[in-house]
């Protein structure tokens, strides 16, 4: 239990927010210069709350998930603050972070097929995980807790001693989730947990994740490119584009009244039974080592104004939460000239960037 604050009377009150990101930046070092995968991201997640993080491939959302727990390649630049239960994680040593990974923050990965050591039995995976953080745990206790976690995922105890290759993809993902939950973390970060699985298994996994809040009071950061999943499993949603958060707020409201043009375009391009024509967003996601100036979405935005190309938009409040877009103000400081729409050919040339 880290970052506990004392209240009058000496009774420790848990910090209201499990996670607070403040202007987090994560830049990768490559031969061609830094890649600004995460470039100024701020949000918070409350206890037992679930936040969905959605965006196209390459927008930096996986980096964000890993950056929070410090699983980044050597030389990566990290700036800003990530407060987990009040304690800033940026700048901690690897061994300090190691203690938090597992019992504090759990991470669920995308490809379950390769995330378990093929030469180790499932029971060993559990024993290793528990002993890493509770070295005094006895064999019986480890076994009991492991089996309980697996039972919650629908894996029978008879399969406890088997090897990973004897399980299907869906089951392996459930084993991964059990491995994460056995340590009862306060926050679970799920990075595209169902992308590699078929739809039926996906539904099962989502139900498990949705139950997290109810049964364990665990907060959830669900990272995905699939809007439908977020609608199912999350209280709030953050829309990420090119390393920045375009819009964040209560999920239901954002889906009904999207404030950012990107969110609108994303929603418009989803396919349902009512879809009569395919709609897509023209252009391609920007190169993160050299992002467009001003608002990063302006080359692909149909509402782009002169302003958008020059200045980065300021966060403004909405009914759902907040949005970063010049369309929403503030009125002060924007001249008439600023609000002129961006010419088509300018957009077209930016398209090739």
């Amino acid at each position: 239990m880290t970052g506990v604050e004392l209240v009058e009377g000496g009774v420790p009150a848990p910090h209201p927010d499990v996670l607070e990101c403040d202007e987090l930046r994560v830049w990768y070092g490559t031969p061609r210069g830094p890649v600004r995968a995460v470039d100024g991201v701020s949000f918070s997640i409350g206890r037992g709350e679930s936040l969905g993080l959605v965006g196209e491939s390459g927008c930096g959302k996986s980096t964000l998930g890993r950056g929070i727990v410090g699983l980044l390649p050597a030389g990566t630049g990290v700036d800003g603050e990530v407060r987990f239960e009040g304690r800033n994680l940026v700048g901690l040593t690897q061994s300090e972070l190691r203690e938090l990974r597992g019992p504090g923050i759990g991470l669920i990965f995308q490809e379950p097929m390769t995330r378990l050591n093929p030469l180790m039995r499932i029971s060993h995976h559990f024993a290793e995980t528990i002993r890493a953080h509770e070295p005094s745990a006895g064999k019986k206790e480890i076994r009991t807790r492991s089996l309980e976690a697996l039972r919650g995922m629908g894996i029978p105890p008879t399969r406890f001693e088997q090897y990973p290759h004897e399980f299907s993809g869906g089951m392996r993902q459930r084993i991964m989730i059990a491995l994460v939950l056995v340590l009862k973390p306060a926050l679970v970060i799920a990075d595209e947990p169902t992308t590699a699985l078929d739809v039926l298994v996906e539904a099962q996994i989502l139900e498990i994740l949705a139950d997290l809040r109810r049964n364990f009071d665990t907060a959830l950061l669900l990272i995905t490119h699939n809007l439908g999943i977020i609608a199912e499993a999350c209280d709030r949603v953050a829309v990420m584009y090119a390393g920045r958060i375009a819009e964040i707020g209560e999920a239901r409201t954002v889906f009904v009244e999207p404030a950012h043009p990107y969110t609108q375009a994303l929603l418009a391009s989803t396919i349902s039974l009512r879809t009569t024509e395919l709609r897509f967003i023209p252009g391609a996601p920007p190169d993160l080592s050299d992002p467009p100036p001003g608002c990063r979405f302006h080359p692909r935005c149909e509402h782009a104004m002169q302003q958008c190309r020059r200045n980065e938009p300021i966060d403004m409040a909405t009914t759902a939460g907040r949005v970063a877009c010049w369309l929403h103000g503030p009125d002060i400081g924007q001249s008439a000239a600023d609000r002129e729409p961006l010419q088509r050919e300018e957009i077209a040339s930016a398209d090739e960037a």
């Binding site: 918070s44 966060d315 409040a317 503030p330």
Partner: protein, 336 residues
């Protein structure tokens, strides 16, 4: 509906031969730090010996089998001195000249051997991988057997069989070594071909009616040729050691034909008993330096070209200060 073989040009997705050079040189230019240093040091060492080899008559003070100069006989076991920097050996030959001419021999043999191995191994590998069937199975069996055999014994046996038949110790040695290394190229090429055969562009080419020769030459070859430079360099290093081993045991090059470092070392073994160190040290060092040079080049190339070992990230990032402060109209408290 008869497909035009020329239409094969249009198959999308296939690697083109010219792109290979670009794909190889590109990462080399991008590489930084240690792999590049290794590459340069190795390249330099290699270059020195190449110069020795090519310009031997100009660089060496005497001939490798010269025993006198201007009416003066060379001493036997002469210590390293002004006129003989590396001293002389039991047969009154100048050790420095032997070392330099030895470079020529070594490179001749190794270049020939590697060339032959590549040609034979690549061709057989391509054919075997593409056609499959019983030909493939037989070839694989033979190659595996050759591969499993202790390389030196194989080389010795072949050297034996060829002794005097192909004329010139250099050719004999080269062919003996070729036999040892053909299986390696065969294997690598065959594996490449097998995996490339599955690719859709090959299937497409076949559907368009391309002849096997075209497919092999245009598509499979480019794919396959990528791994050859690294293997060839490391092979050359190995081949040198095999040559030295052959020379040490007295097979391959005959002393009169050319200078050979391994052979010199075999005689130096008895010299050591008498405390004479220069007859063995210098040829031996030559072997070590040339092999190390080649290996460094090979390993450096491997580090840079091999996707498994390549480093995509790792440069230290220095981040500028935060560009602006957020002005937010609305609260950003918990639960927003």
């Amino acid at each position: 509906m008869v497909a035009n073989a020329g239409a094969v040009e249009q198959v999308v997705g296939a690697p083109r031969g010219g792109g290979v050079l670009r794909r190889t040189l590109g990462p080399i230019r991008d590489a930084r730090g240690l792999p590049k240093v290794l590459l340069w040091v190795g390249g330099l060492l290699f270059l020195v010996f190449v110069i020795f080899a090519i310009f031997a008559p100009l660089v060496a003070p005497y001939g490798f089998d010269q025993t006198e100069s201007g009416n003066k006989q060379f001493p036997k076991y002469g210590h390293p001195s002004g006129s003989h920097w590396f001293g002389t050996n039991v047969t009154n030959h100048d050790v420095l000249s032997i070392v330099i001419y030895g470079a020529r021999t070594a490179l001749e043999v190794v270049v020939l051997a590697v060339l032959f191995s590549i040609i034979i191994g690549v061709v057989l590998g391509l054919i075997s991988g593409y056609y499959g069937g019983w030909l493939d199975r037989i070839l694989v069996l033979i190659m595996d057997a050759l591969f499993a055999f202790p390389y030196l014994l194989l080389a010795i046996v072949v050297a034996f069989l060829l002794a005097g038949k192909v004329g010139g110790g250099v050719m004999t040695a080269a062919l003996s070594i070729t036999v040892v290394y053909v299986p390696q190229y065969f294997r690598v090429v065959r594996n490449s071909v097998l995996s490339a055969k599955q690719e859709s562009y090959v299937e497409a080419a076949r559907a368009l009616g391309a002849r096997p020769r075209t497919i092999m030459g245009r598509y499979l070859f480019g794919n396959v040729i990528q791994s050859v430079p690294v293997i060839a360099t490391l092979n050359a290093a190995d081949a040198l050691l095999t040559l030295a081993g052959l020379g040490f045991l007295g097979y391959g090059i005959q002393p009169g034909d050319a200078a050979e470092w391994g052979y010199e070392l075999s005689r130096a073994v008895t010299d050591a008993g008498a405390g004479i160190w220069w007859t063995g040290l210098f040829p031996g060092l030559a072997i070590v330096l040339l092999v190390v040079g080649l290996t460094l080049v090979g390993e450096g190339l491997n580090d840079i070209l091999n996707p498994v070992l390549r480093r995509r990230f790792g440069r230290l990032v220095v981040m500028p200060a935060r560009p602006r402060s957020q002005e937010v109209a609305g609260d950003l408290g918990a639960g927003q």
